[in-house]
Amino acid sequence: MTDVVEEVAKGREIVKEIEKGKWPNFIREAKKTRYPVDLYGASLYLKRDLFTTGGYVSVPGAPTGILMRVTSRPDIGESTNVVRVLIPSGNFISSEMMDKFCDFADKYGVGMIHALSTSHNVEIPGIPKERIRDFVVEFREAGLEIGSTGDAFRNTTTCVGSTLCEYANLNTMAMRDTFYDKFNDYAKYPTFPHKMKLKISGCPLDCARSTQKADIGVVGSWEGAPEVDDSGMKKLGNEKIDAIVNSCPTLAISRSNGGISIRGEDCIQCMKCLRKAEGAIRPGKEKKFLIYVGGKLRGKKGPLSSKLLMKVDTEEEVMNTIEKIVEVFTDHAARKERLGDLIFRIGMKGFLDLMEMEPKPLNLKDLRTNVFYPVTEAQRNEISEHFSGGGSND
């Protein structure tokens, strides 16, 4: 078949070009493995993806299944299924663990490791279908787990949080551990309408993108003013202090006695002043956990940012809320509907109703501009009550 020969040859030319350049190079890496580079090259030449999904294969120890990746051109290159490997919180991998991953990749896969997937799993690609069972058994015997596929909780990801960052208002890595201690079944068994993701950030800077690419995002924050270290502050010098004062979008900061004072009721925890203060301003002491819902990237209308659901005080409340959200999601989402799609379809008010929560201003970006709504008799009475006893000026 001269077609195949040409496709492979042209593909190789293209691949050779991609191999160039100073940025870390995935082709140079792939060429050190048994990954079917020619198949990839041909797809570039043909400008057409040459894999099809083979669905998920369920094996003992992996109820959510394992991702089958089937070549549509076996004449050029083979299928390359992938297992997703669960790693510790914060993506810290000990050297022993990494050794094991490499050993498994060499033994069962093509000698390639995907470290890291964009959802923060390690993946081992290229395991032939017939070897998957053995792989799983041996892998689990080594004390490791695979997962994060199917209509279940996908890998929970967190920023590094308290482990390495002074901005952290919650120990994100510990919270992830707690999540799995409590809810591992959610992650293990594919019982949801569609996948779910939880991401956790230690502060509003949201390094974990929990407000963007997670069905449920948890963010550590605080209430009131941030903590100011007066002596540290003075050391910064006038110019820097002025820059800090001017950085506050709500004008909550003012100069006082050579340092600054912050009006707590006006602080919106935007982190701007902290970022400029070189440690002299730190997160406030009254911790709050923000819970966001509904972020996702392929909504029917395009990407959906998450919405703030509530602010709570304790990790326990966070866990209870997650449980409640899961309940509402499984009961009400249509098949292959993510949480964000559900909320988009029924509206935030509808979602809050299902959550048995009263709407609050924090649930909204902006308020309504039209007056086409009904008002119940109970509401009319309540409002009347609230505003009775007004004064007059005549």
Binding site: V15, A115, T118, C203
Partner: protein
């Protein structure tokens, strides 16, 4: 073994880090890719951030070498950042600098943080996925080569993140980064003969908008019909069933560029990338046009932005009108905001052909 991921996390971080957990008070950037962290007791550690390959794939050969460095310099542990870069926590500055040069020797630049390029990420693309409209990894490879100097040497007005995804699923995190490459199918798929080999009900379920209808033919055979007015061209059915195909992906597949994505859990909230180039053809290996478009955006931003302005902030200040003026990018109707009744009821403008 415990169920789920290995934990508690304390077992996996370097020993010398444990005491400082929750006690950090400040950090400062020593040099690109190297941060000094100080805890309340004055203890210090140094983090070193090295660039990842575009799609995070490594040979075990290379990964073992990296792992050796982790063993030698970083307390027997390494981590991957949110943006998939490698991060090592080192207990003193001299060792951190040594590690830095070792990493460089292995071909991994150390950099990022503050006014630099922080990360370049991609999804699997043609390399491993069934759904790709664009090969995200090779695009990012080119952009990495092109922008690498901003990772470690040159300064930018502010943080810069770049991501590419092969299709609208956006596994690569496109839409969320300062510059995003989003693979797209610009036509909708067609159903072929071979559809009979697929799990029809299963395929119908994959469709996010319910555009797939099961039908029974005269001869009793079951088949599938795609309702053109509903289909958004996402390509999920194509990935799920070999009998549904894009007719001429080599012409009609490509990628869009969106800019200004940025996360934040403050009241101002997260911003999503907005489409500034609605289509670019797939032209590996060099993707000249894509590179040119990205360079144009980055160069204009460098020239025009104030210190500290991310791309989203810059556009917020100058407005879209000036953005197109200053960059000289052509404006296409596809960039128009569709947050109106029409977008929601018809989902897609035109029949999609």
């Amino acid at each position: 073994m415990i169920e789920g991921p290995p934990r508690p996390y304390l077992n996996y971080i370097p020993e010398y880090l444990k005491e400082s957990v929750g006690k950090w008070v400040t950090h400062k950037l020593e040099e690109p890719g190297l941060i000094e962290h100080v805890d309340s007791g004055g203890r210090k550690v140094y983090t070193v951030k090295a660039a990842a390959t575009p799609n995070g794939r490594y040979s075990t050969d290379t990964m073992r070498k990296i792992n050796d460095l982790a063993r030698k310099y970083a307390g027997g542990s390494m981590r991957f950042t949110q943006a998939l870069n490698m991060e090592f926590v080192v207990s003193d500055l001299a060792k951190a600098r040594e590690l830095k040069s070792e990493l460089k020797k292995l071909g991994f630049p150390v950099g990022g943080w503050k006014e630099h390029l922080w990360s370049l990420t991609s999804c699997a693309g043609y390399f491993h996925c069934a759904l790709a409209a664009t090969d995200a990894p090779s695009v990012i490879q080119r952009l990495g080569n092109e922008l690498s100097e901003y990772f470690d040497e040159k300064e930018l007005p502010a943080k810069l993140t770049v991501a590419a995804s092969g299709c609208p699923s956006s596994c690569g995190g496109s839409f969320l980064t300062d510059i995003s490459i989003n693979g797209i199918h610009t036509e909708i798929p067609v159903v072929t003969e071979n559809v009979k080999n697929c799990d029809l009900q299963g395929t119908a379920f994959t469709c996010p908008v319910g555009a797939i209808q099961l039908k029974t033919l005269q001869n009793g055979e079951k088949t599938i019909e795609i309702r053109e007015n509903l289909c958004i061209g996402c390509g999920l059915c194509v990935g799920a069933c070999g009998g549904i195909i894009f007719k001429t992906p080599e012409k009609t597949d490509g990628h869009a560029i969106s800019i200004g994505g940025k996360a934040s859990a403050s009241r101002y909230g997260t911003t999503l990338g907005r489409i500034v180039v609605p289509f670019l053809p797939n032209e590996p290996p060099h993707y000249e046009k894509t590179v040119k478009a990205v360079r144009t955006i980055v160069d204009t931003w460098i020239r025009d932005a104030r210190k500290g302005e991310r791309i989203a902030d810059w556009v917020d200040r100058i407005g879209w009108e000036k953005f197109f003026e200053k960059t000289g990018l052509p404006f296409y109707p596809q960039s128009m905001d569709y947050l109106d009744i029409r977008a929601i009821t018809t989902l897609r403008d035109g029949s999609g052909r």
